[in-house]
Symmetry: C2
């Protein structure tokens, strides 16, 4: 299973496509996973992509479709009629994937596609799933799973499982329900294989089952799956009736998206973008934070230019502003990043004040260390006077403590208010600390030096 996908391979494939050599194209792709084919698609034109899809089995085409980036998929979908979408793609997909693809279409197209799905049960399941928000358990779940009644014997269960599993790619768990479809527990295939045929299911199934409600947030589902090392988790309604299941591979995608979002917020990027997005998309995601940063900088410049009458020592003070500012920014980001991560992975519990107190102490220690180094440099290398050196050092310690405290407090506050604490990392913290920093600096200078 290790075909090298390199430039030579792509070029050879393009050549075959240009020659309309269907046989060679199919041979080249035969060994590849749909995820690999989707990767190759990134290097091909829409026409070449369409040609390949027309050759592949519907089932593989559908899988390739699912592996594409959303933008590429939309571009390619325009080449298909709603009838083709329904018959060649949606028919072959699991309900959760089908619902995701359909939700990317326009309202009018959605109705047309759904009306043309041949298997009416499949269509009904998809319509059911379309009701749920994309970022809830309902939006992630699929309708493909094996369900058995607690009153059946192992023999009946195996027979039923064979029937229900016919369309399923893979089965890991079997869900046990009562006559009212209330979820009771699970039965592993291993158990089914190792228990005698006449045993009643109620005697052997596992009653300790973790489940989520359809309107639970996807982030919470991810936390539960991670915490308890689950391969899949059932989704129930308010009455605990079994609605569907979520598998770990879909959760991995949720985790990855979330990690990327947090990371980008930390770096001052407001939307989930990739390096290969358009310049316009990238600008939209990046300009807002830059503007905030700019207003912070202009604000600091305003503060500084208002005190232009005293020169000399003041000029020396001024030359240390960048130092004060970048230190405040760095400390603030560090503190907030630790808190945001602690909230995300659950290491931060209730003790908010203890945390802020600790951050205060940490700021004091770091501040004293840095101030000492700066004192040496400014006094012995730059030859700054004692009073000015003292001012700079006192300001540094204060600024670091304040920045650390603000950096800790803001994400905790946002989290308490039900907002995403990750927003508070990056430029937001940097900028507010810039302004606080310059303000504190000149305040201390005023007290010590009388400016």
């Amino acid at each position: 299973m290790n075909v090298a996908i390199n430039k030579d391979f792509i070029n050879a494939l393009s050549d075959c496509i240009r020659e309309q050599n269907s046989k060679s194209v199919l041979e080249m792709l035969a060994e590849l996973h749909p995820a690999d084919i989707a990767e190759i698609f990134a290097e091909l034109s829409v026409e070449e992509q369409s040609f390949i899809l027309s050759l592949l089995d519907n089932e593989i085409s559908a899988d390739v479709f699912l592996e594409l980036e959303e933008d590429d998929r939309k571009r390619l979908l325009k080449q298909f009629s709603t009838k083709e979408i329904a018959e060649e793609l949606i028919n072959e997909m699991d309900t959760d994937d089908a619902a995701d693809i359909i939700s990317e279409l326009s309202e009018a197209q959605q109705d047309e596609v759904i009306a043309q799905i041949e298997d009416k049960e499949h269509a009904q399941d998809i319509v059911d799933l379309l009701r749920y928000d994309e970022d809830t358990a309902g939006g992630l779940m699929r309708k493909e799973f094996v369900k058995v009644n607690t009153n059946w014997t192992v023999l009946t269960a195996v027979r039923e499982m064979r029937r229900q599993a016919e369309d399923l790619e893979e089965v890991y768990s079997i869900y046990v329900v009562d006559d009212d479809n209330i979820l009771l527990g699970t039965l592993s295939l291993k158990k089914l294989l190792t228990t005698s045929s006449s045993t009643k299911l109620e005697e052997v199934y596992n009653k300790n089952v973790y489940y989520v409600k359809a309107d639970d947030e996807d982030e919470n589902v991810a936390k539960i799956i991670q915490k308890y090392d689950l391969m899949e988790i059932p989704v129930v309604d308010e009455l605990k009736r079994l609605l569907g299941i979520i598998t770990v591979d879909d959760i991995i995608d949720v985790m990855r998206d979330e990690a990327e979002e947090d990371y980008q917020l930390a770096a001052g990027i407001t939307r989930n973008v990739d390096a290969d997005d358009s310049i316009l998309t990238l600008t939209k995601a990046r300009l807002p934070w830059l503007l905030i940063g700019m207003f912070g900088g202009v604000g600091a410049a305003g503060i500084m230019s208002n005190i232009q009458d005293k020169l000399g020592d003041f000029l020396i003070l001024l030359s240390f502003v960048p130092l004060i500012q970048s230190t405040a920014g760095n400390v603030g980001i560090q503190s907030s990043a630790i808190v945001v991560q602690g909230l995300a992975n659950g290491t931060i519990k209730d003790d908010v004040w203890k945390l802020i107190g600790k951050e205060f102490l940490l700021g004091l220690l770091n501040g004293l260390g840095i101030a000492l180094v700066v004192l040496m440099i400014s006094h012995f290398i730059f030859g700054t006077s004692y009073l000015i050196s003292l001012t700079i050092c006192l300001a540094l310690v204060t600024v670091i403590i304040v920045a650390a405290t603000i950096g800790t407090f803001i994400p905790l506050f946002l989290n308490k208010r039900g907002m995403d604490p990750a927003v508070s990392t990056g430029p937001f913290i940097t900028t507010s600390n810039d302004i606080f920093g310059v303000f504190i600096y000149f305040l201390i200078a005023k007290i010590i030096l009388g400016f």
Copy 2:
């Protein structure tokens, strides 16, 4: 399965422990998953933890142990003799977990523990696993899996599976090998349940199997599992002989660690720390970047204080340094974050120069936008002269372009050199951009204003 773990629960539990009321303690914990018990441990003293472990089944104790944070685990392990570690903990663990725990002990303890493991086959498997680096496929794999010979019938395979699976918690895939233990493919339990007993395995097993080599990096294993939506992946040696398997839950931990590390590097934290680590640990992780930031700031101050002879206009210029600096820092972090993420999720391929070119263009657009706003503010609100306003704007555009280009180039360069590109986000970029920014600013001022 939804017991509320809150302060009241913890207090009640502590009371029962103080009264040495074993029965109540066991009742309170009966419904809980080991991961929940580990969460409760964070609120208890080592003595309370030991008391609970002495009551629990060895199997559950072992699971609780695995769910603890490494520091807590080490503290608790000191309460155990090597004999207890071997008999009560290691005996109950899967080989991969057992190897992880043993590798946390001192050399001398390791030998003592291994010598006291009763099941010699288990001990041998663990010793095998200890040979591999922690961050390779070998370091992640376990020896617990079901293996069948391609020449067997389905009936034999089911019988063998029952025998081999006796000690396994769960089985998802069965691995098919030839007489030399060379991996040929997989067989799903579903297939085993839905195929007639007399069929030979070689007719039904799935030959398309993804595998990794024992010395592959854990990050690569994570990529493959994610890309192909796998639940587990077999690990082979150079001759493709089957050594073990890696399951998706272990990979989720790798992914989470990696995301956290990237995130912390972006925020200027050099080691993987949590909010509840000690102040000393946190200081060690945070001070290095702060010092780098400080030297950057001092460098900028040095540049500024060297040009102290011309005042007036110069003071106005000086007051815009924070703006130039924070803009350069923000742009640099944004660019590098996008590249680091693109490298991690594979959206960045070979086209390095195209990427840098795009970043250059993007910097030009963003720069012009921001410069325009600053021009308005500085000229109409602050009343800055045309020439100085022009200097500031030109410097802004140049600095943004340079910062964007550097922010793109550095992670790409590090990646090419085989180093972790995530190191380049955060303070490293900010600081180098600070210095470049101030330098460019005064260079342009020198050209336009003649300083």
